[in-house]
């Protein structure tokens, strides 16, 4: 088990190197020179050249990347070109908000998806199954920004149950914190649960055809026990995979959701960095997001081994 973890950890390094290097390249290829952006109307060929030199922008991209990398290895992610803020502080200050949002969204999605999937699988082909899969399908085709606006209108403007925008830190007011996360997390979860539900439902239907389920039934086990204990675990492999891969989608979703609900997370930081050509912040956020994504998938891989002994033993 530890050997497996160590092997996977080694993969992290090249992945992170590749991701950060590609981001660096993409950032360098973006139209709109940073020196121009900073100097604006004051930009003359001479002032632009001088500022580019000061910021090291006249160096080759590879050299700049290596310098940035050397800084990262020493724990220095640089400072924002625009605000002078330390990149590490900026990212760490915003990360908890996004993490909390994503965890809340993922939990909500699981809480909704798993019971519905089990019920659908147990009653495959019935009216309930068709209704639930129909709703899930319809949900997949509604974009998250629209869901967000509808939720705000219903729960914040009309019913006044939850705040329309903003974030309350947990330390300041735990209840307020949860209230401020309900609508954003629900928006993300509404986009997530249909995917999880459909995957689990189809896997479970397949599992329910297996011989060991027939045996369990023959032994007279109660249907609930068969579903929850015997069928659920072997059916969750794809679910876990999809949930892991979906983290990428979820991060993408937070960018939109954080902007709409005005949450001070890394999604907003990223958007701002792109608009203002603040490459240092951009690079810092991407590094953290990529590392997070890789880590989650690493955990998913590890979880496989727990769910399925064959993987653990290298079969």
């Amino acid at each position: 088990m530890l050997g497996l973890a160590a092997r996977r950890a080694v993969y992290l390094v090249p992945v992170l190197l590749a991701v950060t290097f590609l981001t660096f390249l993409i950032a360098s290829l973006l139209p709109g020179d940073l020196a121009f952006a900073i100097l604006g109307d004051q930009a003359t060929p001479e002032t632009v050249a001088a500022l580019r030199h000061d910021m090291g922008l006249d160096q080759p991209a590879l050299w700049r990347y290596l310098r940035w990398l050397a800084g990262v290895l020493q724990g220095d992610l640089g400072r924002s070109y625009r605000t002078g803020e330390s990149v590490l502080d900026a990212v760490l200050g915003r990360l908890p908000v996004s993490l909390e949002l994503m965890v809340a969204a993922e939990i909500t999605a699981f809480v909704v998806a798993i019971p519905i999937a089990i019920l659908c699988a147990a009653r495959a082909g019935t009216g309930f199954d068709r209704l639930a899969t129909g709703i899930a399908f319809a949900k997949l085709s509604i974009p998250s920004f629209m869901v967000a606006i509808l939720l705000i209108y219903l729960f914040a403007v009309q019913l006044r149950l939850f705040p329309a925008t903003g974030y309350v830190p947990f330390g300041e007011d735990p209840l307020g914190n949860l209230r401020s996360l309900v609508l954003p997390a629900l928006t993300l979860a509404i986009g997530e649960w249909p995917v999880l539900m459909r995957v689990l439902r189809s896997d479970m239907i397949a599992t329910l055809q297996e011989d060991f389920i027939a045996l369990a039934k023959a032994k007279g086990l109660r249907p609930r026990r068969i579903l929850l204990v015997h069928a659920l675990k072997p059916s969750s492999l794809t679910l876990v995979t999809v949930a892991g891969i979906n983290i990428g989608r979820l991060i993408g979703g937070t960018v939109i959701v954080e902007s709409i609900f005005a949450l001070p997370g890394i999604g907003r930081l990223l958007i701002g960095a792109i608009y203002t050509r603040d490459f240092m912040i951009l690079q810092g956020v991407v590094l953290f997001v990529a590392a997070g994504f890789v880590m989650v998938n690493f955990l998913v891989d590890t979880l496989y081994a727990l769910l399925d002994p064959r993987i653990r033993h290298g079969h």
Binding site: P31, G32, D33, F36, A37, I38, L39, G40, D41, Q42, A43, T44, T47, A50, L51, D54, R79, R82, T83, G84, E85, A90, G93, R94, A148, I149, I152, Y153, A156, V157, R160, P163, A164, T165, G166, Y167, P169, S259, I260, F261, A262, L263, P264, G265, R268, L269, G272, Y275, T276, R277
Partner: protein, 545 residues
């Protein structure tokens, strides 16, 4: 020399302007109502001015003390150090109007009134302005506000070593001299009759920041600014909220009325309006592209739409050095093909006001004949036919829904006239870059709301200026612009600027689509909001009823 800035942002600017209404030589720029005060002794005058200056027109003493409001901004605030952020955006200006003071402020009639400066005089040639400063103002960190502080602020921005983008906008200030503790002299490179008016904008150039704090905090100053303003920063969570509390030691003992102002960036316009409806915000920034909500708010008794028609306009510049725009017939044809009313209806439910000149209704320049080309599709088609060659070109638009929508509407008008326009979507930074490098056929731009047209008109149209984007040179135009900036008589200046408008419209090197209109939607109980000059919503004098 100075410029309005590309399409959406409104950057406050300054240059060498001339005030048409300040006709008395060597006197201060106060309004006539203050004449009596001027005859008083010096001390009495100081007291009179400082009291009068802060009584907004038409407001009885019904102001209520106390309360807290939340303001919904469009953008995150990047910070307040001019060396870091260069220029403040709209959100930055709004927060700056609370934390800092400027030397002067604009009253409801658009006249400069005392703020940190109590009075001012100028030399005969309007190139030297002497300001007498308020003796009782202190920065929030205890540093006294004085002439040295003013000098430090301006010098720091102008220092070539600091490479501040902000320096561009004060290029006209040659030197600031601290004559004594409370007397500061602005020496200008060109005459400026409107300097006290231009100093009113709470921009990165003109808000007074604590020299002690700037020196002591270094890189951290940007997010820990210190001013003399009516509010002090209590806490600031980046991207979430800036909490400001009443400055108990404010030099104006009667103000501010509010105890607390919370500023929150709410980037999504629908969510911003929802936060107002849900009672989380008391005032939000808005613009006409959010017309549905503005129209909805106008019909809601609990809300009040504050609307200010400023000077300036949304504009487009042709690159006259490139084919087909090197031919005036093509430029005229394209301008005549535009139906601004239809365009306003399509884009903003008719809220946008069509513009026929660069000045707008909010400007003091009123032309009986601005030479606007009429909307005439037949004539446009005929001109393009006369040109004889196919008209194909690209238009830069911002890669945003509104940028695309603008492009598509224009594209349709020009297709009807027989021209083929391709939309090129780029982001705003790229538009600035491309515009200054003259790498465009047609680019969007903006002339911002300013107390006087001179800085922007001179910058945008005088031969050789970096922001004369059309690459166009005309000696008559240059002469008119030069005359307008060196003349004090408002009638003469109006004639100059109207002649400029006629010339520009005839040559069609730029064209104007809509006038600048600024919006704030607030709870009806929020009172005392001043005019939204330059699009800045200044809540510092407001109170809750």
């Amino acid at each position: 020399m100075v410029a309005g800035i590309a399409p959406i942002d409104a950057y406050p600017i300054v240059g060498p302007p001339i005030d048409p209404r300040a006709s008395r030589k060597g006197t201060r720029g106060e309004e006539p109502a203050m004449d009596a005060a001027l005859r008083l002794t010096c001390l009495a005058r100081i007291i009179a001015l400082s009291v009068v200056a802060f009584l907004p027109v038409g407001q009885a003493a019904a102001q209520k003390q106390g309360g807290s409001i939340t303001v919904g901004l469009e953008l995150d605030i990047a910070g307040f150090d001019p060396l870091k952020v260069g220029v403040f955006d709209t959100s930055g200006n709004m927060a700056a109007s609370l934390i800092f003071d400027t030397l002067t402020h604009l009253d409801e009639n658009g006249e400069a009134q005392p703020k940190l400066a109590l009075s001012w005089t100028h030399s005969e040639d309007y190139k030297d302005w002497t300001f007498r400063l308020r003796p009782d103002a202190k920065f929030h960190d205890g540093t006294p506000f004085n002439a040295q502080a003013v000098k430090f602020n301006i010098d720091r921005q102008k220092d070539p070593k600091n490479k501040c983008r902000c320096a561009f906008y004060i290029a006209n200030i040659k030197e600031v001299e601290a004559r004594d503790d409370l007397t500061v002299v602005f020496h200008l490179t060109d005459p400026s009759v409107t300097l006290p008016k231009l100093l009113t904008i709470p921009s990165s150039n003109f808000v007074m920041q604590s020299p002690t704090a700037m020196l002591a905090k270094g890189d951290d100053y940007n997010r820990n600014p210190v001013g003399t303003g009516p509010f002090v920063i209590k806490s600031w969570t980046a991207g979430d909220r800036l909490v400001l509390e009443r400055n108990a030691g404010y030099w104006d003992r009667t103000r501010p009325y509010l105890d607390r102002v919370v500023m929150r960036p709410l980037p999504d316009s629908q969510a911003r309006f929802a936060s107002l409806e849900a009672g989380e915000s008391d005032l939000i920034w808005d613009d006409e592209y959010d017309s549905d909500n503005i129209l909805k708010a106008k019909n809601d008794r609990a809300l009040k739409v504050h609307e200010y028609v400023g000077s300036g306009a949304t504009v487009y510049a042709f690159n006259t050095k490139l084919e087909p725009f090197d031919d005036v017939r093509v430029r005229q044809a394209l301008v005549m093909a535009i139906d601004r009313k239809k365009m306003s209806q399509a884009l903003t439910n008719g809220l946008s006001r069509p513009a026929t000149n660069p000045y707008g209704e909010g400007s003091w320049v009123k032309c009986t004949d601005d030479g606007a080309l009429p909307h005439d599709l037949g004539k446009a088609q005929a001109l393009l036919k006369e040109y004889g060659k196919p008209v194909k070109f690209k238009t830069l638009v911002t890669a945003t829904p509104r940028g695309r929508a603008n492009g598509q509407v224009l594209q349709q008008f020009w297709k009807d006239a027989g021209a083929e326009m391709e939309i090129e979507q780029v982001d705003q930074t790229a538009i600035v870059t491309r515009a200054f490098a003259r790498k465009f056929d047609l680019t969007p731009w903006r002339i911002v709301d300013l107390a006087d047209p001179d800085p922007q008109m001179y910058a945008n149209f005088h031969t050789g200026s970096p922001s004369a984007l059309a690459n166009y040179s005309n000696l008559d135009l240059d002469k008119l612009l030069e005359h307008a900036r060196a003349t004090a008589d408002p009638r003469e200046r109006t004639e100059d600027y109207c002649a400029v408008s006629r010339l520009l419209n005839k040559e069609a090197i730029w064209f104007w689509t809509f006038q600048n209109t600024y919006y704030a939607i607030a709870k009806a109980k929020l009172k005392g909001l001043p005019k939204l000059y330059s699009g800045v919503i200044d809540v510092s004098p407001t109170w809750l009823e």
